[in-house]
Amino acid sequence: MTVTPVPVLSGWEAETLTQADIVAEIAALASHDAVEGAPQTRTNYPPYRSSILRHPTKELRYADPETIELWSPCFSERDVHPLEADLTLGAHHGWNSQVTGQPIGERITVSGRVLDGDGRPVVGQLVEVWQANAAGRYVHKNEQHDAPIDPNFAGIGRCITGSDGSYWFQTIKPGPYPWGNHRNAWRPAHIHFSFFGREFTQRLITQMYFPGDPLFALDPIYHSISDLQDRNALVAAYDHELSVPEHSLGFRWDVVLSGPNRTWMEEA
């Protein structure tokens, strides 16, 4: 194994590293040679400084999935209350609020289908989301951005996929927020999504972005995905059919999980 020296981000670098520096690094890693043979999401992606010490240096080892890996944990309506899909209600588990008001921001619906690689719907599985509020502020103890907290918005939701693999959330559009990767670094607005498939090997956590975000070109996390088609797969589409008159705007985002590895049979 070749050991390359690991640059360690110092506070000094975070202060002096510019957006132009990061864009130049992104461009250098987007060349054909750099992308050739790279995984869909490159875990070794130095423009995202926190990845430098947190990616495996050895290739992933192939293992035939064993029985346990060919099945997935099971979730149902028993686990998730239907109101947890509406983040504007503040009704999420563990959210001890005296909420009576509406969260501030652009009210949106995000909906789509969860499919496997063969196009079959992933039925009755858990989808979890978490996000910043309209001002770009998370409800988290480590959050240091001084944008306002919205007392009516927890930014967490869950749902169980329907018989066609569909999911649905009502929420408010999250704001972009600053982060410490380099000087004046801003993340494109996004919603974090967590998915379970029919097999453990299909587990996925990713981020959904909004169309036309001007921060795409500047964001190393988004660019850790080598292929433009793959990056586009994380961007929701505005869908007027999902917009509700006098109420909210709609975005559609479909998701494809890996596999299947297991021989699939009709569900009873």
């Binding site: 995202y48 990616h55 099945w71 944990p73 099971c74 063969d118 998370y138 299947p260």
Partner: protein, 187 residues
């Protein structure tokens, strides 16, 4: 292996980010069985970065067979009733990078195969999930396992838990470095 002929392109992963604590932990997430259950064990460890520093914003999930080797297909992981074994748990690391589960030992799903915990790891700074396995120390079937047999001794050691004096299982996860955990792909 239908997956190899998949019609649709897989949606790529992205990092769990720093705010996983907002959305994912829930009460009882790391207790596959209640404390005090007969046969209950503590499965724990620390997630480390390439400098050997603990990672406080990592999340570990396990998925396992029951002690008799059956694969649970019962709902209720998010709202545990204390009786139903769902086989799945989630643990966010604490400020010292430590995760822990209260669970029972998995059984072999097939005769002659070693039992293991299936594991997935997420962290801020880790751009995509990592799969691995936690095998049980000293299990006789480990010596015939195709994956373990394909590894050299040092690599193999990264996939086998150690048992401490009080019977707890310890499994540290090294994302990088000399002791880097063997991470898996299945397709």
């Amino acid at each position: 292996m239908t997956g190899l002929n998949a019609l649709l392109r897989t949606t790529p992963g992205q990092t769990i980010g720093p705010y996983l604590g907002q959305g994912l932990p829930f009460t009882g997430d790391n207790q596959l069985v209640p404390h005090g259950t007969t046969g209950a064990i503590c499965l724990h460890g620390v997630v480390y970065d390439g400098n050997g520093a603990p990672i406080e914003d990592a999340l570990v999930e396990i998925w396992q067979a029951a002690p008799d080797g059956t694969v649970a297909q019962a709902a209720g992981s998010l709202d545990r009733d204390g009786w139903t074994f769902t086989g799945w748990g989630r643990a966010a690391c604490d400020r010292t990078g430590e995760y822990s589960f209260t669970t029972v030992l998995p059984g072999a799903t097939e005769d002659g195969k070693p039992p293991f915990f299936a594991v997935v790891v997420f962290a801020r700074g880790l751009l995509d999930k990592l799969f691995t396995r936690i095998y049980l120390p000293g299990h006789p079937a480990n010596t015939a396992d195709p994956l373990l047999c394909s590894l050299d001794e040092a690599q193999r050691a990264t996939l086998v838990a150690t048992e401490d004096a009080v019977g707890h299982l310890r499994f540290d996860i090294y994302l990088q470095g000399d002791r880097e955990t063997v991470f898996l792909r299945h397709g």
